[in-house]
């Protein structure tokens, strides 16, 4: 019997463990189901590591604390779900406008409004299209397992620092609440740019100003083009995805997060019946792995997008695949009892093959 160094933890706990391993120095948040295990874990463990945990008076306060801490050059994060993430959008917009790194975790629950606590993927547009005002994007990573909750949280900190923009880990209540065994990797050695822009109060030295206000002639426009170029660089260098059984697929199913897990089993069921179907799972939702979709769709012309919504990611899929490709959609909008089963998705695959 082998006992590898694995830990059996909730997805939310994996996020918190990874944040500590990534060297997060400050967590600011406010409780909301289904992500409260993240602040619970960090409230207990982060101070032991010399970090700071603050349960703020609101989501708005907590995201602005992240902004302040990030401006000082320290690694900071917050986490929430639907209603709380909406409240944080103003702060995220200011962080984007100030070119500040910082990690935001959204464990999606159903909405709009107060909604419910069941799994959802209906925050996709909010997360990937710049949820606040002003026209910006943030890095969006979509884990598909508890191990990836750990790995991608770690990656979010590095990408955020490297590209000087907020990064979001976009998961859902299935991934947050489920438990799997993970291998908690140590923090990878990554060469990151020094935070020479940070306001550290060094006294009399060069003055740094962190702001999102650009009033001078042409300044704001220049900022936008600079960020636009950065987003393109991000797409070229950091697009990530996973393919499963795609090589000979005649029908390609695409889904992210927990939905992709359900699809994967449906694909296995279909393969057992000789149906040539594959799975394309985007891991980065921004940057969306457009090139990979374009490549796969040169050969495979029939696609099916599956989401826990009435269809959001499917828009990006349709923009990315070759023009002669038909992208069908199957969705289960979030709410109690709406989580699709592998058997249900298998039927959807069968119907289309």
């Amino acid at each position: 019997m082998s006992t590898p160094p694995r830990k059996f933890v909730k997805g939310n706990e994996a996020v918190a463990m990874a944040a500590i391993e990534a060297g997060v120095q400050c967590y600011f948040g406010y409780p909301i189901t289904p992500q409260s295990d993240i602040p619970e874990y960090l409230a207990r463990e982060l101070p032991r590591k010399g970090g700071i945990f603050i349960q703020a008076e609101s989501e708005i306060a907590s995201v602005n604390m992240v902004l302040g801490a990030a401006a000082c050059g320290v690694r900071a994060m917050t986490s929430s779900s639907g209603p709380g993430i909406s409240l944080k959008q103003e702060g995220i917009s200011y962080m984007a406008g100030s070119e500040l790194p910082g990690v935001i975790v959204d464990i999606m629950r159903s909405g709009p409004g107060l909604g419910g606590i069941d799994a959802s993927q209906a925050d996709y547009h909010q997360a990937t299209k710049g949820g606040g005002h002003g026209g910006y994007r943030i890095i969006v990573l979509a884990p598909g397992s508890v191990q990836e909750m750990y790995d991608l949280t770690m990656l979010a900190f590095d990408l955020s620092d490297q590209y000087r923009m907020p990064a979001m880990v976009l998961a859902d209540s299935v991934l947050g609440q489920m438990k799997e065994s993970i291998v908690p990797h140590p923090r990878p050695q990554v060469e990151l740019p020094a935070k020479e822009w940070a306001v550290r109060g060094t006294g009399g030295a060069h003055q740094n100003v962190v702001k999102s206000l650009y009033l001078g002639d042409g300044e704001m426009e220049k900022f936008h083009w600079k960020m636009h170029a950065r987003y393109q660089e991000l797409a070229e260098k950091e697009s990530r995805w996973e393919e499963y059984q795609t090589a000979d697929a005649e029908l390609m199913v695409t889904a992210f997060g927990a939905t992709a897990r359900i699809v994967r089993t449906a694909v296995e069921m279909a393969r057992a019946e000789g149906i040539k179907v594959g799975l394309m799972r985007p891991i980065t939702l921004f940057p969306f792995p457009k090139q990979a979709y374009a490549g796969l769709s040169v050969r495979c012309k029939r696609w099916l997008a599956v989401e826990l919504s009435t269809g959001q990611m499917v828009d990006d899929v349709r923009l990315s695949v070759a023009r002669d490709v038909e992208v069908d959609f199957y969705g289960r909008p979030p709410g109690a009892g709406s989580l699709p089963t592998p058997e249900e998705l298998f039927e959807q695959i069968k119907k289309r093959s």
Binding site: F8, V174, M178, K179, E180, S181, R261, R264, L339
Partner: protein, 184 residues
Amino acid sequence: MRYDVFFAGYGGQGVLLAGNLLSYAAIHEGKNVSFFPAYGVEKRGGAAMCTVVIADGDTGSPVVGHPSVSVILNQLSWDKYADKIKEGGICLVNSSLVNLAGVTLPGRELLVIPMNQVAIDLGDVRMVNMVACGAYAAASGALQLDSLKEALKDTLPERNHRLIPANIKAIEAGAAAVFSARKA
């Protein structure tokens, strides 16, 4: 191999603890495991359910529509979930709290075990989840009883480790109940 099991009862019966125990046992055997709890606003008395998927390779979907094995601990779960078990699957039902009312499950093996009574006979009804876990391991062959016993240390908080011997007895009694139900 890939095994999945659906555990259902009411809050307080230890359904989630049972799912954790099965998961840790699978980890002891070097398997991959996904434990997915259904959770809600209820606590004690409300519905409690979880799904555990055990696999040598990728566990795939944590959501299972038609489980290969279901462990049904109360009436509500029987009424709602018994007929979801897939063809050729197994239903372990706690007859202490479930009135089967003559219902059979065609194409599936129905193992009727008075789990509450077995636990009471061992001294505490709260061990009903342990009886259920032992019964599951014996009925499905997915896990060794020894792995379950070993996993108690990981699953129970340290302050309850003194109860491990009693829980081991309950696991064994659950397994024994399956053997006698199959002989009958």
